[in-house]
Protein backbone atom coordinates (compact mmCIF):
# COMPACT_ATOMS: atom_id res chain seq x y z
CA UNK A 1 0.00 0.00 0.00
CA UNK A 2 1.47 3.38 -1.05
CA UNK A 3 1.60 6.42 1.20
CA UNK A 4 -1.34 8.18 -0.40
CA UNK A 5 -3.48 5.05 -0.38
CA UNK A 6 -2.64 4.56 3.26
CA UNK A 7 -3.69 8.16 3.93
CA UNK A 8 -7.00 7.62 2.14
CA UNK A 9 -7.53 4.33 4.02
CA UNK A 10 -6.96 6.01 7.36
CA UNK A 11 -8.80 9.29 6.91
CA UNK A 12 -11.22 8.87 4.04
CA UNK A 13 -12.27 5.28 4.47
CA UNK A 14 -15.74 5.39 2.94
CA UNK A 15 -16.69 2.01 4.36
CA UNK A 16 -15.91 3.08 7.89
CA UNK A 17 -17.64 6.40 7.29
CA UNK A 18 -20.78 4.72 6.01
CA UNK A 19 -20.88 2.38 8.99
CA UNK A 20 -20.59 5.12 11.55
CA UNK A 21 -22.59 7.80 9.77
CA UNK A 22 -25.73 7.14 11.89
CA UNK A 23 -23.72 7.47 15.11
CA UNK A 24 -22.10 10.74 14.04
CA UNK A 25 -25.45 12.00 12.72
CA UNK A 26 -26.91 11.41 16.17
CA UNK A 27 -23.99 13.36 17.61
CA UNK A 28 -24.76 16.12 15.12
CA UNK A 29 -28.33 16.34 16.44
CA UNK A 30 -27.06 16.50 20.01
CA UNK A 31 -24.57 19.26 19.15
CA UNK A 32 -27.31 21.32 17.49
CA UNK A 33 -29.56 20.91 20.53
CA UNK A 34 -26.76 21.76 22.96
CA UNK A 35 -25.64 24.77 20.90
CA UNK A 36 -29.17 26.14 20.60
CA UNK A 37 -29.74 25.86 24.35
CA UNK A 38 -26.43 27.57 25.05
CA UNK A 39 -27.00 30.41 22.58
CA UNK A 40 -30.57 31.15 23.71
CA UNK A 41 -29.85 30.96 27.44
CA UNK A 42 -26.41 32.60 27.31
CA UNK A 43 -27.51 35.59 25.21
CA UNK A 44 -30.70 36.08 27.26
CA UNK A 45 -28.89 35.91 30.60
CA UNK A 46 -26.16 38.23 29.31
CA UNK A 47 -28.75 40.79 28.24
CA UNK A 48 -30.55 40.49 31.57
CA UNK A 49 -27.30 41.17 33.45
CA UNK A 50 -26.44 44.16 31.23
CA UNK A 51 -29.92 45.63 31.81
CA UNK A 52 -29.60 45.09 35.57
CA UNK A 53 -26.20 46.76 35.45
CA UNK A 54 -27.63 49.84 33.75
CA UNK A 55 -29.69 50.62 36.85
CA UNK A 56 -26.40 51.60 38.45
CA UNK A 57 -26.92 49.97 41.87
CA UNK A 58 -23.36 49.90 43.09
CA UNK A 59 -23.36 46.72 45.20
CA UNK A 60 -25.32 44.83 42.57
CA UNK A 61 -22.89 45.95 39.89
CA UNK A 62 -19.91 44.74 41.91
CA UNK A 63 -21.59 41.32 42.03
CA UNK A 64 -22.27 41.36 38.28
CA UNK A 65 -18.72 42.40 37.44
CA UNK A 66 -17.31 39.68 39.73
CA UNK A 67 -19.41 36.91 38.14
CA UNK A 68 -18.70 38.16 34.63
CA UNK A 69 -14.94 38.40 35.21
CA UNK A 70 -14.89 34.97 36.85
CA UNK A 71 -16.50 33.22 33.88
CA UNK A 72 -14.45 35.16 31.38
CA UNK A 73 -11.24 34.18 33.17
CA UNK A 74 -11.84 30.45 33.68
CA UNK A 75 -11.23 28.12 30.73
CA UNK A 76 -14.58 26.54 29.77
CA UNK A 77 -13.16 23.04 30.16
CA UNK A 78 -12.22 23.76 33.77
CA UNK A 79 -15.79 24.86 34.52
CA UNK A 80 -17.23 21.75 32.84
CA UNK A 81 -14.97 19.41 34.78
CA UNK A 82 -15.59 21.26 38.05
CA UNK A 83 -19.36 21.04 37.62
CA UNK A 84 -19.35 17.43 36.41
CA UNK A 85 -17.00 16.01 39.03
CA UNK A 86 -17.42 18.63 41.76
CA UNK A 87 -21.19 18.91 42.12
CA UNK A 88 -21.74 15.18 42.83
CA UNK A 89 -19.42 15.61 45.81
CA UNK A 90 -21.91 18.21 47.04
CA UNK A 91 -24.73 15.72 46.56
CA UNK A 92 -25.97 17.08 43.22
CA UNK A 93 -25.59 14.76 40.27
CA UNK A 94 -25.44 16.39 36.87
CA UNK A 95 -25.28 14.71 33.50
CA UNK A 96 -22.40 15.51 31.18
CA UNK A 97 -24.91 17.24 28.92
CA UNK A 98 -26.18 19.47 31.75
CA UNK A 99 -22.65 20.28 32.93
CA UNK A 100 -21.57 21.26 29.42
CA UNK A 101 -24.72 23.27 28.80
CA UNK A 102 -24.50 25.15 32.10
CA UNK A 103 -20.77 25.87 31.79
CA UNK A 104 -20.90 27.22 28.25
CA UNK A 105 -24.10 29.14 29.00
CA UNK A 106 -22.37 30.89 31.90
CA UNK A 107 -19.33 31.68 29.76
CA UNK A 108 -21.45 33.04 26.92
CA UNK A 109 -23.53 34.99 29.45
CA UNK A 110 -20.37 36.61 30.83
CA UNK A 111 -18.93 37.60 27.46
CA UNK A 112 -22.33 38.68 26.10
CA UNK A 113 -22.95 40.87 29.15
CA UNK A 114 -19.71 42.74 28.54
CA UNK A 115 -20.55 43.21 24.85
CA UNK A 116 -24.10 44.42 25.56
CA UNK A 117 -22.79 46.72 28.27
CA UNK A 118 -20.24 48.23 25.91
CA UNK A 119 -23.08 48.77 23.44
CA UNK A 120 -25.32 50.45 26.01
CA UNK A 121 -22.58 52.81 27.17
CA UNK A 122 -21.73 53.65 23.54
CA UNK A 123 -25.17 55.20 23.00
CA UNK A 124 -24.74 58.96 23.49
CA UNK A 125 -26.08 60.50 26.70
CA UNK A 126 -28.17 62.87 24.59
CA UNK A 127 -30.35 59.96 23.51
CA UNK A 128 -31.28 59.31 27.15
CA UNK A 129 -31.87 63.00 27.77
CA UNK A 130 -34.04 63.49 24.70
CA UNK A 131 -36.20 60.49 25.54
CA UNK A 132 -36.50 61.34 29.24
CA UNK A 133 -37.35 64.96 28.40
CA UNK A 134 -40.45 63.77 26.55
CA UNK A 135 -41.63 61.93 29.65
CA UNK A 136 -40.49 58.39 28.82
CA UNK A 137 -39.49 56.40 31.91
CA UNK A 138 -36.02 54.95 32.46
CA UNK A 139 -37.11 51.50 31.34
CA UNK A 140 -39.02 52.77 28.31
CA UNK A 141 -35.96 54.75 27.27
CA UNK A 142 -33.72 51.74 27.71
CA UNK A 143 -36.05 49.41 25.80
CA UNK A 144 -37.26 51.67 23.00
CA UNK A 145 -34.38 54.07 22.41
CA UNK A 146 -31.11 52.79 23.85
CA UNK A 147 -31.21 49.01 23.40
CA UNK A 148 -32.22 49.06 19.72
CA UNK A 149 -29.14 51.19 19.02
CA UNK A 150 -26.91 49.25 21.40
CA UNK A 151 -27.89 45.86 19.98
CA UNK A 152 -27.15 46.97 16.46
CA UNK A 153 -23.54 47.82 17.24
CA UNK A 154 -23.10 44.65 19.30
CA UNK A 155 -24.13 42.24 16.55
CA UNK A 156 -20.66 41.70 15.01
CA UNK A 157 -18.78 41.01 18.28
CA UNK A 158 -21.72 39.04 19.60
CA UNK A 159 -21.87 36.73 16.56
CA UNK A 160 -18.13 36.12 16.79
CA UNK A 161 -18.28 35.27 20.44
CA UNK A 162 -21.38 33.10 20.03
CA UNK A 163 -19.73 31.03 17.30
CA UNK A 164 -16.56 30.62 19.34
CA UNK A 165 -18.43 29.44 22.40
CA UNK A 166 -20.86 27.09 20.65
CA UNK A 167 -17.86 25.38 19.09
CA UNK A 168 -16.91 24.63 22.70
CA UNK A 169 -19.70 22.03 22.73
CA UNK A 170 -16.90 19.67 21.58
CA UNK A 171 -15.59 19.91 25.15
CA UNK A 172 -18.63 17.87 26.19
CA UNK A 173 -16.81 14.81 24.82
CA UNK A 174 -14.58 14.98 27.90
CA UNK A 175 -17.52 14.31 30.22
CA UNK A 176 -19.11 11.65 28.04
CA UNK A 177 -21.51 13.71 25.94
CA UNK A 178 -21.99 11.92 22.61
CA UNK A 179 -22.07 15.14 20.59
CA UNK A 180 -20.22 15.28 17.25
CA UNK A 181 -16.70 14.91 18.65
CA UNK A 182 -17.74 12.40 21.32
CA UNK A 183 -19.58 10.27 18.79
CA UNK A 184 -16.68 10.44 16.31
CA UNK A 185 -14.20 9.42 18.98
CA UNK A 186 -16.32 6.39 19.92
CA UNK A 187 -16.58 5.47 16.28
CA UNK A 188 -12.83 5.80 15.94
CA UNK A 189 -12.28 3.45 18.87
CA UNK A 190 -14.75 0.89 17.54
CA UNK A 191 -13.33 0.91 14.04
CA UNK A 192 -9.71 1.55 14.92
CA UNK A 193 -9.76 3.98 12.00
CA UNK A 194 -9.62 7.82 12.20
CA UNK A 195 -11.96 8.28 9.22
CA UNK A 196 -14.74 8.70 11.76
CA UNK A 197 -12.99 11.89 12.89
CA UNK A 198 -13.01 13.18 9.32
CA UNK A 199 -16.72 12.55 9.37
CA UNK A 200 -16.94 14.59 12.56
CA UNK A 201 -14.97 17.44 10.99
CA UNK A 202 -17.35 17.44 8.01
CA UNK A 203 -20.28 17.49 10.42
CA UNK A 204 -18.84 20.60 12.15
CA UNK A 205 -18.40 22.33 8.80
CA UNK A 206 -21.98 21.51 7.79
CA UNK A 207 -23.17 22.94 11.09
CA UNK A 208 -21.01 26.04 11.43
CA UNK A 209 -20.59 27.33 7.89
CA UNK A 210 -24.31 28.21 7.75
CA UNK A 211 -24.01 29.75 11.23
CA UNK A 212 -21.09 31.92 10.12
CA UNK A 213 -22.96 32.88 6.95
CA UNK A 214 -26.05 33.69 9.01
CA UNK A 215 -23.93 35.91 11.26
CA UNK A 216 -22.66 37.79 8.22
CA UNK A 217 -26.20 38.21 6.92
CA UNK A 218 -27.42 39.54 10.27
CA UNK A 219 -24.56 42.06 10.34
CA UNK A 220 -25.51 43.41 6.91
CA UNK A 221 -29.21 43.29 7.59
CA UNK A 222 -28.93 45.44 10.70
CA UNK A 223 -26.27 47.83 9.47
CA UNK A 224 -27.27 51.50 9.67
CA UNK A 225 -29.37 52.88 6.91
CA UNK A 226 -27.32 55.69 5.43
Amino acid sequence: MGGFESFLFSFFNLKVMATYLPLVAKGFGLTVLLALLIVVCGLALGLALAVLRSFGVRVLNWGIIFVVDLFRALPPLVIIVLLFFGLPAAGITVSGFAATWLSLTLVLMAFAEEIYWAGITAVPKGQWEAARSTGLTFLQTLRLVVLPQALRITIPPLTNRTIAITKGTALGSVVGVAEILGASQSAMSFSANPSALTLGAIAYLILFIPVVAFGRWVETRFAWKR
Binding site: P124, G126, Q127, E129, A130, A131, R132, S133, T134, G135, L136, T137, Q140, L144, V145, P148, Q149, R152, W224, K225, R226
Partner: protein, 249 residues
Protein backbone atom coordinates in the same frame (compact mmCIF):
# COMPACT_ATOMS: atom_id res chain seq x y z
CA UNK B 1 -50.25 99.38 37.94
CA UNK B 2 -51.16 96.45 35.70
CA UNK B 3 -51.54 93.20 37.62
CA UNK B 4 -49.07 90.57 36.54
CA UNK B 5 -50.42 87.04 36.06
CA UNK B 6 -48.68 84.29 38.08
CA UNK B 7 -45.57 83.08 36.26
CA UNK B 8 -45.71 79.72 34.47
CA UNK B 9 -42.09 79.05 35.44
CA UNK B 10 -40.98 80.14 38.87
CA UNK B 11 -37.53 79.03 39.94
CA UNK B 12 -36.07 80.32 43.18
CA UNK B 13 -32.68 80.14 44.79
CA UNK B 14 -31.29 77.43 42.52
CA UNK B 15 -27.93 76.04 43.55
CA UNK B 16 -26.01 73.49 41.58
CA UNK B 17 -22.51 72.24 42.32
CA UNK B 18 -20.37 69.88 40.32
CA UNK B 19 -17.84 68.71 42.86
CA UNK B 20 -16.27 71.87 44.30
CA UNK B 21 -17.47 74.08 41.48
CA UNK B 22 -20.69 76.00 42.08
CA UNK B 23 -22.30 76.37 38.66
CA UNK B 24 -25.49 78.00 39.91
CA UNK B 25 -25.33 80.27 42.94
CA UNK B 26 -28.88 80.89 44.05
CA UNK B 27 -30.44 81.87 40.73
CA UNK B 28 -34.07 83.01 40.44
CA UNK B 29 -35.93 82.90 37.16
CA UNK B 30 -39.57 83.53 36.56
CA UNK B 31 -41.24 83.42 33.18
CA UNK B 32 -44.74 84.61 32.37
CA UNK B 33 -47.09 82.76 30.08
CA UNK B 34 -46.46 83.50 26.38
CA UNK B 35 -43.17 85.15 27.24
CA UNK B 36 -39.97 84.56 25.29
CA UNK B 37 -36.97 84.79 27.58
CA UNK B 38 -33.45 84.70 26.24
CA UNK B 39 -30.60 83.65 28.49
CA UNK B 40 -27.18 84.87 27.39
CA UNK B 41 -23.76 84.90 28.94
CA UNK B 42 -20.19 83.69 28.49
CA UNK B 43 -19.54 79.97 28.37
CA UNK B 44 -19.40 78.42 31.81
CA UNK B 45 -21.83 81.00 33.16
CA UNK B 46 -24.34 78.29 34.10
CA UNK B 47 -27.02 79.20 31.56
CA UNK B 48 -27.36 75.69 30.12
CA UNK B 49 -27.35 74.17 33.60
CA UNK B 50 -30.12 76.56 34.62
CA UNK B 51 -32.18 75.53 31.59
CA UNK B 52 -31.58 71.83 32.26
CA UNK B 53 -32.73 72.26 35.85
CA UNK B 54 -36.10 73.49 34.58
CA UNK B 55 -37.06 69.95 33.53
CA UNK B 56 -34.81 68.26 36.07
CA UNK B 57 -32.39 66.79 33.58
CA UNK B 58 -30.04 68.38 36.07
CA UNK B 59 -30.91 67.96 39.73
CA UNK B 60 -30.42 71.24 41.64
CA UNK B 61 -28.79 70.92 45.04
CA UNK B 62 -31.04 73.55 46.52
CA UNK B 63 -33.93 75.80 45.59
CA UNK B 64 -37.44 75.34 44.28
CA UNK B 65 -38.95 75.17 40.80
CA UNK B 66 -42.59 75.50 39.89
CA UNK B 67 -43.66 74.83 36.33
CA UNK B 68 -47.31 75.22 35.45
CA UNK B 69 -48.18 74.86 39.13
CA UNK B 70 -46.17 71.66 39.62
CA UNK B 71 -43.47 71.54 42.29
CA UNK B 72 -40.74 70.00 40.16
CA UNK B 73 -38.33 69.18 42.97
CA UNK B 74 -40.94 67.64 45.26
CA UNK B 75 -40.04 63.92 45.61
CA UNK B 76 -43.76 63.12 45.33
CA UNK B 77 -44.00 64.76 41.90
CA UNK B 78 -44.28 62.36 38.97
CA UNK B 79 -41.41 63.82 36.96
CA UNK B 80 -42.34 61.90 33.81
CA UNK B 81 -45.84 63.39 33.87
CA UNK B 82 -44.40 66.86 34.48
CA UNK B 83 -41.94 66.55 31.61
CA UNK B 84 -44.77 66.10 29.11
CA UNK B 85 -45.58 69.74 29.72
CA UNK B 86 -42.01 70.91 29.23
CA UNK B 87 -40.63 70.49 25.73
CA UNK B 88 -36.88 70.53 25.28
CA UNK B 89 -34.72 71.05 22.22
CA UNK B 90 -31.01 70.25 22.37
CA UNK B 91 -27.93 71.63 20.66
CA UNK B 92 -27.14 68.21 19.17
CA UNK B 93 -30.76 67.43 18.10
CA UNK B 94 -30.64 63.96 19.70
CA UNK B 95 -33.04 62.38 17.24
CA UNK B 96 -33.38 58.62 17.56
CA UNK B 97 -31.28 57.39 14.61
CA UNK B 98 -33.12 54.07 14.27
CA UNK B 99 -36.48 55.74 13.68
CA UNK B 100 -37.89 57.83 10.85
CA UNK B 101 -38.80 61.48 11.48
CA UNK B 102 -42.42 60.46 11.97
CA UNK B 103 -41.53 57.63 14.36
CA UNK B 104 -39.34 60.04 16.34
CA UNK B 105 -42.35 62.26 16.91
CA UNK B 106 -44.75 59.35 17.51
CA UNK B 107 -42.77 57.59 20.23
CA UNK B 108 -43.74 59.70 23.24
CA UNK B 109 -47.25 60.27 21.85
CA UNK B 110 -47.79 56.54 21.98
CA UNK B 111 -45.80 55.52 25.04
CA UNK B 112 -46.28 58.55 27.28
CA UNK B 113 -49.67 59.93 26.23
CA UNK B 114 -50.99 56.47 25.30
CA UNK B 115 -52.37 57.51 21.92
CA UNK B 116 -53.28 54.84 19.37
CA UNK B 117 -51.07 54.29 16.36
CA UNK B 118 -53.35 56.02 13.85
CA UNK B 119 -53.91 59.06 16.06
CA UNK B 120 -50.23 59.38 16.98
CA UNK B 121 -49.29 59.13 13.32
CA UNK B 122 -51.79 61.86 12.46
CA UNK B 123 -50.52 64.19 15.20
CA UNK B 124 -46.92 63.52 14.16
CA UNK B 125 -47.74 64.37 10.55
CA UNK B 126 -49.32 67.66 11.61
CA UNK B 127 -46.37 68.55 13.85
CA UNK B 128 -43.91 67.81 11.06
CA UNK B 129 -46.02 69.84 8.64
CA UNK B 130 -45.88 72.71 11.08
CA UNK B 131 -42.08 72.75 11.00
CA UNK B 132 -42.10 72.46 7.21
CA UNK B 133 -41.07 68.82 6.96
CA UNK B 134 -44.30 67.25 5.75
CA UNK B 135 -42.39 65.90 2.76
CA UNK B 136 -39.63 64.30 4.82
CA UNK B 137 -41.63 62.31 7.32
CA UNK B 138 -40.39 58.89 6.30
CA UNK B 139 -36.72 59.93 6.24
CA UNK B 140 -34.23 58.72 8.82
CA UNK B 141 -32.25 61.39 10.72
CA UNK B 142 -29.07 60.53 8.80
CA UNK B 143 -30.91 61.41 5.58
CA UNK B 144 -31.77 64.90 6.85
CA UNK B 145 -29.66 68.06 7.10
CA UNK B 146 -28.82 69.44 10.53
CA UNK B 147 -31.45 72.13 10.22
CA UNK B 148 -34.07 69.60 9.22
CA UNK B 149 -33.07 67.35 12.11
CA UNK B 150 -33.45 70.21 14.55
CA UNK B 151 -36.90 70.99 13.15
CA UNK B 152 -37.88 67.33 13.63
CA UNK B 153 -36.64 67.64 17.22
CA UNK B 154 -38.87 70.71 17.66
CA UNK B 155 -41.81 68.78 16.16
CA UNK B 156 -41.11 65.91 18.56
CA UNK B 157 -41.40 68.34 21.48
CA UNK B 158 -44.42 70.39 20.33
CA UNK B 159 -46.43 67.30 19.37
CA UNK B 160 -46.88 66.66 23.10
CA UNK B 161 -48.47 70.13 23.40
CA UNK B 162 -46.15 71.35 26.15
CA UNK B 163 -46.93 74.44 28.20
CA UNK B 164 -43.35 75.70 27.89
CA UNK B 165 -40.47 75.03 25.54
CA UNK B 166 -36.81 75.04 26.52
CA UNK B 167 -34.18 75.56 23.81
CA UNK B 168 -30.57 74.73 24.67
CA UNK B 169 -28.41 76.41 22.01
CA UNK B 170 -30.68 75.13 19.23
CA UNK B 171 -28.67 76.61 16.37
CA UNK B 172 -25.09 76.30 17.66
CA UNK B 173 -24.38 73.04 15.82
CA UNK B 174 -25.81 74.24 12.51
CA UNK B 175 -24.13 75.53 9.39
CA UNK B 176 -24.96 79.24 9.00
CA UNK B 177 -27.25 78.73 6.03
CA UNK B 178 -29.42 76.29 8.01
CA UNK B 179 -29.95 78.53 11.03
CA UNK B 180 -32.70 80.60 9.42
CA UNK B 181 -35.09 77.67 9.00
CA UNK B 182 -34.88 76.78 12.68
CA UNK B 183 -35.29 80.40 13.80
CA UNK B 184 -38.34 80.75 11.54
CA UNK B 185 -39.98 77.79 13.25
CA UNK B 186 -39.19 79.34 16.64
CA UNK B 187 -40.63 82.65 15.48
CA UNK B 188 -43.86 80.93 14.44
CA UNK B 189 -44.07 79.14 17.79
CA UNK B 190 -43.75 82.49 19.47
CA UNK B 191 -46.53 83.95 17.34
CA UNK B 192 -48.73 81.04 18.39
CA UNK B 193 -48.19 82.10 21.99
CA UNK B 194 -45.75 79.42 23.15
CA UNK B 195 -43.83 80.21 26.32
CA UNK B 196 -40.16 79.83 25.51
CA UNK B 197 -36.86 79.94 27.35
CA UNK B 198 -33.91 80.06 24.98
CA UNK B 199 -30.21 79.72 25.67
CA UNK B 200 -28.54 80.93 22.50
CA UNK B 201 -26.00 83.22 20.89
CA UNK B 202 -28.40 84.36 18.16
CA UNK B 203 -28.33 87.97 19.25
CA UNK B 204 -30.16 89.33 16.22
CA UNK B 205 -32.99 86.92 16.96
CA UNK B 206 -32.95 87.92 20.62
CA UNK B 207 -33.16 91.61 19.73
CA UNK B 208 -36.05 91.01 17.35
CA UNK B 209 -38.10 88.40 19.17
CA UNK B 210 -37.30 88.26 22.90
CA UNK B 211 -39.51 89.88 25.52
CA UNK B 212 -36.74 89.75 28.05
CA UNK B 213 -33.05 88.99 28.08
CA UNK B 214 -31.28 87.52 31.10
CA UNK B 215 -27.53 87.94 31.38
CA UNK B 216 -25.67 85.36 33.44
CA UNK B 217 -22.05 85.14 34.51
CA UNK B 218 -20.28 82.86 37.00
CA UNK B 219 -23.46 81.11 38.08
CA UNK B 220 -25.35 84.28 38.84
CA UNK B 221 -28.01 86.33 37.13
CA UNK B 222 -26.35 89.72 36.82
CA UNK B 223 -28.93 91.62 34.87
CA UNK B 224 -32.23 91.22 33.05
CA UNK B 225 -34.55 93.42 31.06
CA UNK B 226 -36.01 94.09 27.64
CA UNK B 227 -33.58 93.46 24.77
CA UNK B 228 -33.30 97.18 24.01
CA UNK B 229 -32.02 97.80 27.49
CA UNK B 230 -29.65 94.84 27.76
CA UNK B 231 -28.16 95.37 24.33
CA UNK B 232 -28.49 99.19 24.23
CA UNK B 233 -27.63 100.35 27.71
CA UNK B 234 -26.45 97.47 29.87
CA UNK B 235 -26.04 98.43 33.52
CA UNK B 236 -23.45 95.92 34.60
CA UNK B 237 -19.83 96.10 33.52
CA UNK B 238 -19.71 92.33 32.77
CA UNK B 239 -22.77 92.69 30.54
CA UNK B 240 -21.22 95.61 28.69
CA UNK B 241 -18.01 93.64 28.10
CA UNK B 242 -19.96 90.63 26.85
CA UNK B 243 -22.17 92.66 24.51
CA UNK B 244 -19.11 94.48 23.13
CA UNK B 245 -17.43 91.17 22.42
CA UNK B 246 -20.30 89.58 20.53
CA UNK B 247 -21.02 92.81 18.64
CA UNK B 248 -17.53 92.62 17.21
CA UNK B 249 -18.37 89.29 15.54
Amino acid sequence: MPTTPPPIIDARGLWKRFGNLAVLKGVDLSVAERELVFIIGPSGSGKSTLLRCLNRLEEPDDGSIQVDGIELLDPKTDINAARQRIGMVFQSFNLYPHMTARQNVMLALRKVLGKGKAEASEIAARALDRVGLGERMEHYPAQLSGGQQQRVAIARAIALEPRVMLFDEPTSALDPELVGGVLNVMRELRQDGMTMVVVSHEMAFAKAAADRVVFMADGEKLEEGPPAQIFGEPQHERTRAFIRQIDRH
